[in-house]
Homo-oligomer: 179 residues x 2
């Protein structure tokens, strides 16, 4: 199935607002707790998404368009948010994510990418050769993997509270494929 860039943009423009509606002013029991050592809370995930807006998706798009396979992408720092979110409220982070995402999508639309651009190739430091189409599709799927993670992390807080219903709740069986 061909990747349709408009479908990708349609999702990317909605997730920050969806996260805002879910998380803003929610009790910290939901937003600051994680699933145990070396796992992320919803607050951590929003910081991680911000770091992606700053250093990953559009930066790599430009690397592909400018240098192709010659210049491997910089590695992505999966723990940058521990440093960058320090001292910020979740509300501030949600505002920042919305602003950065809107700016990035404005820039992406202005590029007016054509089908032949989407087939251009870059080099991922671990995965090897990838296309611009795959990078942009992954940007959207990455939102979804973290929405999946947030819903699981929040449900984890109610593992005891739901009593025997845990058997009927799929999210309670999820082993945490997203770290």
């Amino acid at each position: 199935m061909q990747h349709n860039l408009q479908d990708t943009i349609s999702l990317l423009e909605r997730t920050p607002a969806a996260l805002d509606r879910l998380l803003r002013d929610l009790p910290e029991m939901w937003t600051l707790r994680n699933e145990g050592a070396n796992t992320w809370s919803a607050y951590d995930v929003v910081g991680h998404l911000i770091h992606g807006e700053r250093t990953d998706w559009m930066v790599r798009t430009k690397v592909i368009l400018q240098s192709g396979e010659d210049q491997p992408f910089e590695r992505f720092d999966r723990w940058a948010q521990a440093r960058e979110s320090r001292g910020k409220s979740l509300g501030q982070l949600l505002d920042e994510l919305a602003r950065l995402r809107a700016e990035n999508l404005d820039e992406l639309r202005a590029m007016n990418l054509q089908p032949e651009d989407l087939e251009r190739r870059g080099r991922h430091p671990v995965l090897g050769v990838v296309t611009l189409s795959q990078l942009l599709a992954t940007w959207a799927a990455h939102d979804l993997t973290h929405l999946h993670q947030i819903s699981r992390t929040m449900a984890h807080q109610y593992r005891e509270a739901v009593g025997p219903w845990t058997a009927f709740l799929g999210v309670m069986q999820c082993a945490g494929h997203s770290s």
Copy 2:
């Protein structure tokens, strides 16, 4: 850990708006596709949540308060939405979910449930004895299990499009614990 009813209500009042922001006017490629035979699309899930608002959570709350363990809950029809959503747009379903949820939460708040009420017991037709506390916590966790499912179902549509990145996306490894 004690179940805090205010935490539960805080989540329950946010999920319909979060789903609205995520799904409204999103291309049908995202909202109408499922994961294969006998699985649900995002559209199906919203219909299922509506059916829960009508027939499950508050109805069972009243059964517990009025009849305790004597009267088992009615079984929940997990496929009712195939019938009840027919002919309705996703936008209509999102409006209906928001309205029913707000009405149910108004009614729940008006009950002014006390800790001793939350310990009252009812009888689930399969799980046996459950408490009102567990029922209400499950209402919130049920939102999360379906947010988890929707994010997985939508990500499934991009399984090919992301190319080698599928290895890094936890949601792509999720086997679908939520049916």
